[in-house]
Amino acid sequence: MKTIGVDVGGTFTDLALCDVGNGEVVIHKVATTPHDPSEGVVQGVREVCARAGTEPGEIAYVFHGTTTATNAVLENKLARAGMITNAGFRDILHIGRHQRVEHYSIRQELPWQSRPPIARRHRKTVAGRLVPPTGAELVPLDEAGVGRAAEELKAEGVEAVAICFLFSFLNPAHEERARAIVEAVMPEAFVTTSSSVSPQFREFERFTTAALAAAIGPKVRRYIANLESALARLGVTGELRIMASNGGAATARMVSEKPALTLLSGLAAGVLGGRWVGERMDRHDLITLDIGGTSADISLIREGRFAETDARSTALAGFPLLLPMIDVHTIGAGGGSIAHLDRGGAFRVGPRSAGAVPGPAAYGKGGDAPTVTDAHVVLGHLDPEDFVAGDLRLDPEAAVRVVGDLAGRLGLPLHEAAEGILTVLNANMANAIRSRTVQKGLDPRGFALMAMGGAGPLHGAAVAQMLAIPEVIVPPYPGITSALGLLTTDLKYDAIRTQFQVSDSLDIARLTEGFAAMEAELAGLFSADRVPAERVRTTRTGDLRYLGQGYELSIDFPSGALDAAGLDAVWRSFHDRHAAEYGHAFPGSPIEIVNIRVAGTGLLRKLPGLAAPAGGSLDAAELRRGRCLFRIGGRLTPCDTPFYRREALPVGAAVAGPAIIVQQDSTTLVPPGARAGVHPSGSLVITLGDAA
């Protein structure tokens, strides 16, 4: 069986074609086609097949990571959408949480007011009201009013409709009835309900999620349909699977129905790729650090599982999203990050970036601001001899010039300034990792740092040293981890129900029924996707908090019928998690189960290991030696540093730092005191010493 992973990035579309039988992988890159990304995808699929000598008809699955939905929101290119909501609550989307984005600003804009996903004129209200705790009907739905609203929306040229009623997470009946009425009036429109997008409490967040789902719906649906037919024309008869925000894949059918699944999927594949690389080495506790040109993405894998964000921390372009999403933390730090003195004279690196154009000064394409890449050039880490990205050659003099200017303003010698740029950037990343680990009661020293992305391997060791992480892993193809990650996905669907049950008055039957109903619902979805029952796995979790709190922790629940003993174990693990995360537990307080969830996974065959590298000897791998500067014992010291060609390094070889290891898509920096070796799975492992 052969599969293709295709990941669309801002500049390049990356592809990996894999023969699942023998683990052979062919990688390929084409330029992204922003006007219609499916063009680049189809071109890439055609080319990677040709390179691999594979007929498109042999491909069983195409796994695809797309930013179509994300970009539509970021660029505010949304469909004209309408909303039907409760009388008296027309402006939930506009009022939001009545909080400003910035504390200290008069001239700020509030995204939910300055670029609403649904304009007020298209927000229609109808009588009807459900009330807690069960979602009982207080005021019946004005069905005639819904019909009139749909007629109005149709006349206004609306293409998509979000139906959003208060307390629909307890009882979707009004929303479902309204959906049927709207669909009858507007058969062409994309219609969604807030309870089907995310049946969770907090109306602003849920309505906003539904509004965005509606506003991207038509575009995503068209994109998927176009791509499917273009792939068919190419002769691909296999199935298209789309990467979803939750860290799993979804079928094209599912994404066309629930496009919101892809709203935040852009970063998920890289995490999966990192996890897969770790698994090949029997490393299951990982911090993945994926550094590109403008940003660094950080995520955590514990015992082989990635984390999901909590419902209150997920946002896109300033809009909250109530969706299961793989937890990736992004900061503005990358190879193109610009070092500067800000208005107050403080030394900053990023978040502004030189991007791909004009890029760092050393790229010689007109960039005149000192970037992180320029700092590496000044210190000798990147050498014009090896650094070839496209047809680009480094211009070291330009790097020295721009870093030198900055050094003058900082009052520092040239090399101190260059190293300072790296130190500030690395510290930013270390702080971000600290906020994902130490702040949650996790010790980063128990993890390996997976350094990915074009620039990750240049910074991995230094960031790890700041956090006392003992080991850094550099995957075989650090720059293409997302495309590989796509080849490791399973189908994944989630279900959620709000419970609001309290531990001291628990209705166990209701809890068991809730889980069972969700499991049945997911079984139906997998069966519709023709996944045999024996390939489906489900896991239960609950969102728990102490009664009165507003933030929940995700706790595992046992499978099958629940009993008192099983629940005692759940409460105990909640107290333990609370103590671990926050440093304190309230053992006497009742615990509230806010939501229960089931995650269903339809297992797919995936990429086995990559073929082991077949290098010769360390000597043969050495390209040359160069003069690089490293801080040793507090002083910047010139070191005679060997440069190795990565492909030529043999398994088991021990490289003593300082050393630089170069490959086509990345450069790895091994600092003084550290040692690097090649693992049989093809990854580099850097073991850090004490010579920080």
Binding site: G88, I95, S105, R107, E109, F167, L412, R434, Q439
Partner: protein, 596 residues
């Protein structure tokens, strides 16, 4: 861009690294406090603060999630704790946790209780880790800690904690906790929140110690000096760029509109700015005298100073333009505040202050009105002030108390309309989700949307307030501290004044009653409904200069009707769009002979 300060004793790289680490600590404190706390005023409204200070109370960093009115006063809390402890002949020791809420000793007002954990390094006090938070009940005369608009002195406002050790050298001081349990309504919530505050402050202290271990105290101190110098440099330059001179502005508080004594109504707030080179004097002389037995006096430290500092930085160093600037002594050093003793803005003990929320924000607005004369491109027209409502009752023998901050709106800004339905100036809290309120409390929200036909015209229109209705599902009570029922937010440069707020009680069985802006505890019956109209900010610039397309947009969005479009803006609309000829004719006519 400015050259770095040559006097700084630390290299810029180390400074940047330490400052990043400090900010990370403050964020962690706030993150944990929000997640651990039990009452919605902290976890949803985010009415809390978290900061680290040096041993004198000078601020090193504050949590970005916290609300300005909570973090701002922290240095004052610490200074007064030091003073009180020294005055007693006591000392601060490792393992102490100190509780403080004295509004005549740095606190913003009594309900904002600080817990302060000292940090020691090699047996020397090197700093403090502090959290503040608004507590639901502090043992005042009526339930809840807001809407106490009739306390006669500070003793009536609730318990006063003047540097009380709740842990002494690591040991819990049980009697203090027993007093709290016995004197606070809803103690399970309030004490739980206090414990969460202590845990968050202890985490901050532990991280602070680790940072000192890593970098050494000298480097931390140098990084702190560098941060202050940084903030100070920016503020000095911003003030220097303004024309020297004296600029005065006046606004009015409602006061007690139903009080027979005219001295308690329509109280002036007067701000005179004196700009000379890089210094700014804010003189409040002329502001109404204090009300000796009504709690809308403003603590000079903790409310008045914070309101002024915050407004000045939000205008002169707007974070949209300037990015993140650390809040510390550097931002405030060159601002001198003058307030005559015995005025509303500098009351004498024991004049009550618990309901200082609205006056403080109105003072912030008055400062903006004065700055509008020298920085018109950076201000908004008058803001719609915030209000706080407190709902309470007994359920199964236990008190329930719920606080809700009612949003205001901003005035128009040069090039931008005012922000609608939002917290203004010195507070930045969040509303409670309707679905959270109704799941947990015997209240129903029956309406929450924008007001219609309530837009202050201007070339850039004022922001629009909300209409928000609450219905009691069981017998209980409510109170409210509000303002802005009798004075409209100011329009700027030809923009119209904004619209006032109002509150109407619609009893289940009786005629609606309009209420004044200060409502002491009032009983309510099941079915009674409270209708709150929020204020609308002032307009900015001549409405006749507003882009007709923008008027048409507001019309289509249902914010105003065709009559208002014509009357207020001279814009004639037809179903298909703009009637350009009629609009041109009408506007031309009015510019020739403006309506009187």
């Amino acid at each position: 861009m400015t050259a770095p300060d040559p006097t700084t004793a630390i290299d810029p790289v180390t400074a940047a690294v330490i400052q990043g680490a400090l900010e990370t600590i403050a964020v962690e404190m706030g993150h944990k406090l929000m997640r651990m706390s039990h009452s919605s005023i902290i976890r949803e409204s985010e009415d809390f603060g978290a900061a680290l200070t040096d041993p004198t109370g000078s601020q090193l960093c504050e949590c970005r999630m916290s609300t300005p009115l909570q973090s701002g006063p922290i240095p004052g809390y610490v200074r007064h704790i030091l003073k009180v402890v020294a005055g007693r002949g006591d000392a601060i020791r490792p393992g102490d946790v100190i509780m403080h809420n004295d509004p005549y000793g740095g606190a913003s007002h009594g309900p904002d209780v600080a817990f302060c954990v000292p940090v020691f390094h090699q047996d020397a006090l090197v700093g403090f880790s502090v959290t503040t938070a608004h507590h639901l009940d502090i043992g005042a005369l009526t339930p809840g800690s807001c809407g106490i608009v009739d306390a006669v002195d500070t003793y009536a406002e609730g318990l006063q904690f003047k540097a009380i050790k709740v842990y002494e050298a690591g040991r819990r001081v049980d009697p203090v906790w027993q007093i709290l349990e016995a004197n606070l309504r809803a103690p399970q919530l309030v004490v739980g929140d206090m414990e969460a505050q202590i845990m968050a402050a202890r985490i901050g202290a532990a991280r602070f110690s680790e940072l000192i271990e890593t970098w050494g105290l000298a480097a931390i101190t140098a990084a702190h000096d560098d941060l202050i110098a940084y903030s100070e440099r920016l503020m000095r330059e911003a003030i220097r760029a303004l024309p020297d001179g004296e600029y005065r502005a006046v606004t009015h508080l409602d006061g007690y509109l139903d009080d027979p004594d005219p001295g308690r109504r329509d109280l002036p707030l007067v701000v005179t700015l004196r700009i000379a080179a890089d210094t700014l004097e804010v003189d409040l002389t002329g502001t109404a005298p204090q009300l000796p037995d009504k709690p809308i006096n403003m603590p000079f430290e903790g409310t008045v100073d914070c309101a002024i500092w915050l407004t000045v930085r939000s205008i002169l160093l707007d974070s949209v333009t300037f990015g993140h600037i650390p809040q510390n002594a550097g931002l405030t050093r060159q601002i001198r505040i003058v307030a005559p003793k015995g005025c509303l803005a500098n009351p004498d003990f024991p004049a009550p202050v618990i309901a200082r929320f609205c006056p403080g924000n109105q003072l912030a607005d008055t400062v903006m009105k004065a700055l509008a004369q020298v920085a018109p491109d950076r201000v908004s027209a008058g803001i719609g002030n915030l209000r706080v409502a407190s709902f309470s009752g007994l359920k199964d023998g236990r008190h329930w108390v719920h606080m809700e901050i009612l949003e205001g709106s901003y005035g128009g800004r040069q090039g931008l309309d005012g922000m609608d339905a939002v917290d203004t100036l010195y507070a930045n809290t969040r509303n409670n989700p309707i679905e959270d309120i109704e799941m947990h409390l015997p209240l129903r929200v029956t309406r929450y949307e924008l007001r219609e036909d309530a837009v202050a015209p201007g070339r850039w229109r004022g922001g629009i307030g909300t209409v928000r209705e609450f219905t009691f599902l069981s017998d209980g009570g409510f109170s409210m501290e509000g303002d802005g029922h009798s004075h409209r937010p100011w329009g700027h440069d030809g923009g119209a004044d904004g619209l006032t707020a109002s509150v109407t009680l619609v009893p289940a069985d009786g005629a609606p009653r309009a209420l004044v802006s200060k409502i002491p505890y009032l009983k309510a019956k099941a079915g009674d409904r409270l209708v709150c109209l929020g204020p609308c900010g002032g307009g900015y610039g001549d409405p006749l200069a507003r882009d007709p397309e923008a008027v048409l947009h507001d019309l289509r969005e249902g914010l105003l009707g065709p009559e208002a479009a014509f009357a207020d803006y001279g814009v004639a609309a037809m179903p298909a769009g703009l009637d350009e000829a009629a609009t041109r004719a009408e506007r031309g006519r009015r510019i020739v002979s403006p309506p009187s």
